[in-house]
Amino acid sequence: MTRWPLLPVVLLVAGCGGLGPSAADRPNTLTTMGFGLPDEHATARVAVFREKRPEVDLRINEGVFDEQQFLSSVAAGDPPDLVYADRRKLGGYAARGAVQDLGSCLERHDVDLAGYREAAVRQVTYDGTVYGVPDFFTVRVLILNNPVLRENGVDPATMSTTDWTALAEVSAKLARAQDGRVQRIGFDPRVPEFVAMWAKANGADLLGDEPHLDDPRVVEAVRYTTDLVRAQGGWAAFKAFRDTFDSFGAKNELVSGQVAAMAMDSWYVNTLAANSPDVDVTVAPLTDRQGRPLTEAGGQAWAIPKGARHPELACELIATMTAADTWVTAAKARRDALAKKGKPYSGTFTANRAADERIFAEVYDPRGIRVLEQGVQVLQSVQDKAFALPPSPAASDLVRSWEAAVSRVLFGQQTPQESMAQAQREADRALTRVGGR
């Protein structure tokens, strides 16, 4: 009788999750992190898995990938069964033992990464071991605003990134600035985020087996791209102007004539087709200084964390989600949903070559929209020419080092040489630290 107050305490503790197994412990339960269901690409692929394995309780934890949450869960021994993350981050997780080797998993499910795009596979392979399966595949291209170029006597067909001197001259001719305010960007090289691509165009890899941030060719690329920006009103005004763009609206920077030409991620072609289908642009490949097409690849990958409760089921989900048949099913669902809204289907760019071939042969529906008909061809032509930065155990620190270095140059705080030398020192230190100091 005197012990009755203990009851609510026990119930409270049990209710707080202090007792009993978590949902992830149950058999046939599969938990994911970093994968959302924003459109048919996701929902239709999940539906394929659910149809195949109806007995599995698949729990999609909506929201973007949260590194802190992921690593904490691995450290606490309570990770999700799968993660869906930026491929650039996988190397760091692999080096720290936070994700599992997928070699035997892929073998069991007949997933042959030889059929995947090389750049994507490179991003998920660390020390010769595969730690992830690539999902989407994005590249970078040149987007030209035809009316603005023509008004200024520039033929879009002649504009390229091969001749850096000529590009700087055209950029200066197209740019407009008055009273410290930028009114039009002539050419946007998208630095600091695209600096690895500009270095590659100049023949240098920012990252090989080790960082080469102070390579003279990298320094030259940084000097060239930052000078381009500084000649167009200076970085502060340039960036503030760019921040005002309605990039995802009908009056985006190309429609409103705020930009004449820019380097951009491939997904923006789809955005333009959906929001401003009549926009008059030319999509062209970016080129290196010898005139060869050049692009940098990006995208996400699926991986299985260390300590995942159901690695076999997780592996099955990965194999299903990335199979060519599943991608085609998702592409059809996406196309049909867009068709109901009277919109075109611009195709789906995956890292799986077979999936892409079938999607563009069987499902692609550009509905006569020029930006797609012209742009998609270019995108397809550069897919297999893409390069990707190799995985690194200190990827986040390295990217931060070189982007901060370019920012310092953009603001005129350091010369390109000084800044990249500092970035190199920081990168070396970051790699030493990952090794345990």
Partner: protein
């Protein structure tokens, strides 16, 4: 006997807080102190490295930048917040029957979630077409690039931080109403000017509240994080294009902990901040003995 029972009852009532403090505050703090002497990346066991992390802080340029940014923000934000809040409270005191309405209006911005506030101010402060520069333009001034020029990013953040001045103003208003009216009457009879009344009656009368807000605002400013992180770091995986101008100390600490997985170093950074805050607070407490006037001690 009664007092022993009272003491027991008192402990019983505060016991949940004591448990909560030991479990959720003191425990993690001690663990963080231990981690500050280790190399720990969350995934492998912590390895003892002695004072290495603390030595590294002394030579870390980004830590120095972050500390300077934070101190700069605090030095601008705290006095401005206090002066502006005091001015608003003085006006409110004269508002008569409509004071309640204005008090609510002033306090409402405090309810805005910091993330929404950051998004709003990114638009307002834009150097190209932001409303703040448009207003400056009406008076013939060319506004700066608040969100992209490193020299103006911190002043822009200070400007934004004044959005929540209402909560401090409401505290001052309460304090002002407690200053006895007969003191002002006597001063007026003696021919004291409004400035002398403010300096010799109002300020000593509310010095306790000013002291409280000084300490609270200083500590909060030294831990500033959310707005700057949302505006300049949140959407990006790496360094913002604005460089390190908005890199506040806690943001750097967060980056080191969860971006670079250096939990030991981040713990050391946290303890350095703790010591800095404790030292500044101790100095403020020392100075308060000379400048703060308490009614019950006079």
């Amino acid at each position: 006997m009664t007092s022993a029972r009272e003491a027991r009852a008192g402990w019983l009532f505060v016991l949940p807080w004591v448990f909560g403090f030991l479990l959720l505050t003191a425990g993690p703090m001690l663990y963080s102190l231990y981690l500050s002497f280790t190399h720990y990346d969350l995934l492998k066991p912590a390895r003892f490295t002695g004072l290495t992390n603390y030595r590294e802080i002394l030579t870390d340029d980004r830590a120095a930048t972050a500390l300077w940014n934070t101190v700069f923000f605090t030095l601008l934000h705290v006095p401005l917040q206090i002066v502006l809040a005091l001015g608003l409270a003085s006006l409110l005191r004269r508002a008569g029957r409509s004071a309640g309405f204005f008090r609510t209006v002033l306090f409402l911005p405090t309810m805005t979630p910091p993330v929404a506030l950051a998004a709003l101010f990114l638009l307002l402060l834009n150097g190209q077409n932001g409303a703040i520069n448009a207003v400056l333009g009406w008076f013939g001034f060319t506004g700066p690039q608040w969100t992209t020029d490193p020299a103006w990013i911190k002043p822009g953040l200070v400007l934004m931080s004044l959005w929540t001045v209402g909560s401090t103003a409401v505290l001052y208003l309460a304090a002002l109403t407690r200053v006895p009216g007969e003191r002002y009457e006597a001063a007026r009879l003696d021919g004291a000017s409004p400035w002398r009344q403010f300096w010799h009656i109002t300020l000593p009368g509310i010095s306790g509240t000013i002291y409280f807000t000084l300490i609270v605002n200083t500590i909060a400013s030294l831990q500033v994080f959310t707005e700057a992180y949302t505006m300049f770091f949140g959407a990006r995986p790496s360094t913002p294009a604005e460089g390190d101008a908005a890199l506040f100390y806690v943001i750097y600490l967060f980056q080191e902990a969860f971006g670079s997985l250096r939990m030991g170093y981040a713990s050391a950074l946290a303890w350095v901040l703790f010591v800095v805050i404790a030292a500044i607070t101790a100095l403020q407490v020392r100075l308060s003995r000379d400048y703060v006037h308490y009614e019950d001690r006079s």
